[in-house]
């Protein structure tokens, strides 16, 4: 097993990983930007290295500074968390080349799945259903119509690189297509340094269902149930739950098994999540695969009793899946995660400031992941997550009730939060009746005011 692990990340995920490392008796090392130096977990760390100034490029994306911290700390493994460098195959190679283990999939799998066109082709080749899509649209495209013809309107113009729906646009007819393609190209080039664009069939009011996977790199792959992440705003998840309600259970479980077989053929290693869209008729379509720990992994842990981060570390250290994963994974009850964001609840604009008051709920069956405490500064440099609240009930209704109680008990002053929006969703008929889809967030937000 590893002796010392450097956590190349910040915030919620850094504290989450540190907790498991401590429970496993492994030393951990924090890295941080200048503005994060007073966060409680950085101050509490036995060993911490400042990477540089606040912007991600100078700190959490700064190869040189992180590699230097890895060297100085003499750690034997690095956990990249999620976001930042977690899906950067070049970083993975640099770490591996320096003789340190990167806790994650093989760089080649990260690279392939990180490009949505290649990922889609790979899944389609393995017999997994995909949406109609065009090939890569070249920069000097002469006849866009040829690319659009087979896809059909309405369609989505998407960036091949990156994630989080950045640059994604819905186009209803041909007249707006070329402008949309250009805009997506620009946004993507700026955000990911890659302006590759493609066109994809637009699915009306889909649900987002994703499948948690873990593999040991030797063909052992286990599916660990699904999560429903349909409640989003600006293409970012806000509420996730497991099990997915009102779903064809047999078809859903069969899809999980099928995906596990595909990943097993690839000898996939580490945690991974296959994201699928589900149409109104219940059919699944591959969306993308995240080759890393997922933000919402906590709800899977709540219902299975597993520690996914521990499993990820164990397989990275060379353990067989059979030794880290119970032969039968049983799912009990229903779990919901609420992402508490520092943002205006109506327009979803970020809200920076000082946490004058910050009292997370302390309740049974409620887990709160947060790196913050009263007095902390919420800066505009990173994502707006203040906390993740994970509730576990005996059934869906119980979990919803607990979620609302937990929100009521969460007291935050100093920045605006999306708590009013979360309340609104939890009390909506759409959420209760599972009549929701990935654009419901925008529709409901208009009712907050």
């Amino acid at each position: 097993m590893f002796r010392k692990v450097l956590i190349a990340n910040r915030g919620v995920v850094a504290t989450r990983i540190a907790r498991t490392l401590e429970s496993m008796g492994i030393e951990w090392v924090a890295v941080h930007s200048k503005v994060d130096e007073d966060l409680p977990y950085v101050r509490g760390a036995n060993e911490a290295y400042c990477l540089g100034a606040a912007t991600p490029r100078e700190s959490y994306l700064n190869y040189d500074a992180i590699l230097s911290a890895i060297k100085r700390s003499q750690c034997d493994a690095v956990h990249p968390g999620y976001g930042f460098l977690s899906e950067d195959p070049n970083f993975a190679r640099l770490v591996t080349d320096s003789g340190v283990r990167l806790i994650g999939p093989r760089p080649l799998d990260v690279e392939t799945m990180g490009n949505k066109i290649r990922a889609r082709d790979r899944m389609e080749g393995a017999g997994i259903p995909v949406l109609r899509a065009s090939k890569r649209v070249p920069e000097d495209v002469e006849n866009l119509k040829e690319y659009a013809e087979h896809v059909g309107f309405p369609m989505l113009v998407k960036a091949a690189a990156g994630g989080g729906g950045i640059g994604m646009q819905r186009v209803s007819d041909e007249s707006k297509l070329s402008i949309a393609v250009e805009k997506t190209r620009q946004l993507s080039a700026r955000a990911f340094g890659d302006g590759t664009v493609y066109l994809e069939q637009y699915l009306e009011e889909p649900r987002h269902i994703e499948f948690q996977m873990v593999g040991d790199g030797r063909g052992g792959v286990r599916p660990i149930y699904e999560r429903d992440c349909s409640i989003q705003r600006r293409h970012q998840k806000v509420i996730e739950e497991t099990p997915a309600p009102k779903i064809d259970r047999k078809a859903c479980d069969a899809m999980g098994e099928r995906l596990a077989d595909v990943l097993s053929d690839w000898n996939y290693e580490s945690l991974g999540t296959v994201e699928m869209l589900m149409g109104r008729d219940g059919s699944f379509y591959f969306l993308e695969m995240n080759t890393r720990l997922q933000v919402e992994h906590g709800i899977t842990e709540a219902v299975t009793g597993l520690d996914l981060v521990e499993m990820q570390i164990a397989v990275a250290a060379g353990k067989d899946l059979a030794d880290t994963c119970p032969p039968k994974i049983i799912r009990k009850g229903h779990a919901i995660e609420l992402r508490i964001y520092a943002e205006d609840p109506v327009r979803f604009f970020p809200s920076a400031g000082k946490l004058i008051k910050f009292q997370p709920p302390k309740m049974t069956n409620v887990r709160v992941e947060t790196p913050f405490a009263e007095g902390c500064l919420i800066t505009p440099y990173y994502d707006p997550t203040l906390a993740l609240v994970i509730v576990h009930g005996s059934d869906r209704l119980g979990a919803i009730k607990l979620a609302r109680e937990a929100l009521n008990a969460f007291s935050i002053e100093g920045v605006k939060t999306n708590i009013p929006f979360l309340h609104l969703v939890l009390s909506s008929d759409e959420f209760h009746g599972c009549r929701y889809h990935t654009t419901i967030g925008e529709q409901l937000s208009k009712k907050v005011a």
Binding site: F349, P350, A352, P380, Y382, D383, P384
Partner: protein, 75 residues
Amino acid sequence: MTDVEVKSEVTGTIWKIEMKVGDAVDVGDEILIVESMKMEIPVMASIPGRISKITVSEGQPVEEGDTLAIIEAQK
């Protein structure tokens, strides 16, 4: 002639300035984009007119309520 200040609604950094002094604007035209917490927030003209001043530069940090530009309102 009335001048209208265009203010930032968020704390963040100026990512991109899309217009220059002298440009004519209509309601809803994007003047510049502020980046905050990994989100791009367009700042738009609230009245028709002409840009008479841009008080920030790309890469500059701004606070909520800071003036970013001034529009000379159309008569």
